[in-house]
């Protein structure tokens, strides 16, 4: 972003000097205004979901669910170490549920353990799985959409299919270019 932001800003402002010199000031205030409005909407969106997700975290459901995935994950990541598998599984499960507060520390710890064993294949795989998103329900998108009266059901469906597709493609690519 440190490259994109100044580049686009400079180009746009220089360009509008020729088109309409007053446009820059207008754009700045419109942009600021929009940012404030969106942030207010997002406070509501996030507060609802961080609240509900925290009920889930407090009940320990994430840890319980992550036990189920430990075995398949051991095989997928080619690791025999129990501690690594546990962290990997916790990361994947928490990401699926959207509990990022649990997912990120577990992911960093799993990466450190994989790094120690020099398992760069595992490191690539975990990074690709996380950055292709495996969240089952795009909660903030759904909330934002429904605040405008949008149809949530088709979005749930297409998001699920797309995010599944993207992650599968990512995993296949990692396996092919091992």
């Amino acid at each position: 972003m440190n490259v994109i932001f100044p580049l686009i800003l400079l180009l746009s402002i220089v360009f509008s000097l020729f088109n309409s010199p007053t446009a820059t000031l207008t754009a700045l205030s419109i942009g600021g205004d929009k940012a404030v409005k969106l942030s207010l909407t997002l406070i509501a969106v996030y507060a609802v979901w961080t609240g509900i997700i925290n009920i889930l975290s407090a009940s320990g459901a994430t840890e319980k669910l992550s036990k189920i995935f430990e075995k398949p994950i051991k095989r997928l990541f080619n690791t025999k170490d129990d501690e690594t598998a546990k962290k990997l599984s916790l990361n994947v499960t928490a990401n699926m549920l959207g509990v990022s507060g649990v997912a990120t520390p577990a992911g960093i710890e799993a990466m450190r353990l994989l790094d120690k064993k020099d398992n760069s294949h595992g490191k690539t795989l975990l990074t690709v799985i996380s950055s292709t998103s495996i969240q089952l329900l795009p909660l903030s998108v759904l909330q934002l959409l429904s605040s405008y009266g949008g149809d949530v059901s088709s979005v749930i469906l297409v998001s699920f299919i797309s995010t599944f597709f993207t992650t599968v493609i990512g995993v296949i690519l990692v396996k092919v270019f091992k």
Partner: protein
Amino acid sequence: MNVAIYIVPVLIIAVILYALFKKVNVFTAFTSGAKEALPLIYTIFPTILAVLIMSELFEVSGLSAIFIKLLSPVLKFFGIPTELTKLVLLKPFSGSGSLALLDEIYKTYGVNSYISLSASAIFGSSETTFYVSAVYYSKCKNKNAAKAIIISLTATFLGAVFSCFICKFFY
């Protein structure tokens, strides 16, 4: 098809029942979780502001139109509507920034349009690649994330192409 509308309410029922079963103070857990939203907004507000100003300037300067005109043959070839160009390009760099663009798309094209549906699918199908790899590799000795980044970006782009394709059937 309409099983999907039951997912969110059923999920919330399940979360509350399981928490009660585990003797969690549901009210306290909810409020202390909700409290995290304000610091979160506090962190992402500057990014949202920067991206929206950038997007606004890009638009009014007429650069956006030229840029999209140049890129549209490529994106059209892959079946990505030109209205989604900026979202597809920004997503790997900034999550909150692309949420701002998503919001713009909802407002401009209406929430129940093909463009908005595809935009939601694209937004949900990937994470902020550059941020994820920076954070995940932070505690590693071998920090070479090039392969992971290239594969993630490829998968993300193919995911966007796929999203635009399947949305045609659900719109």
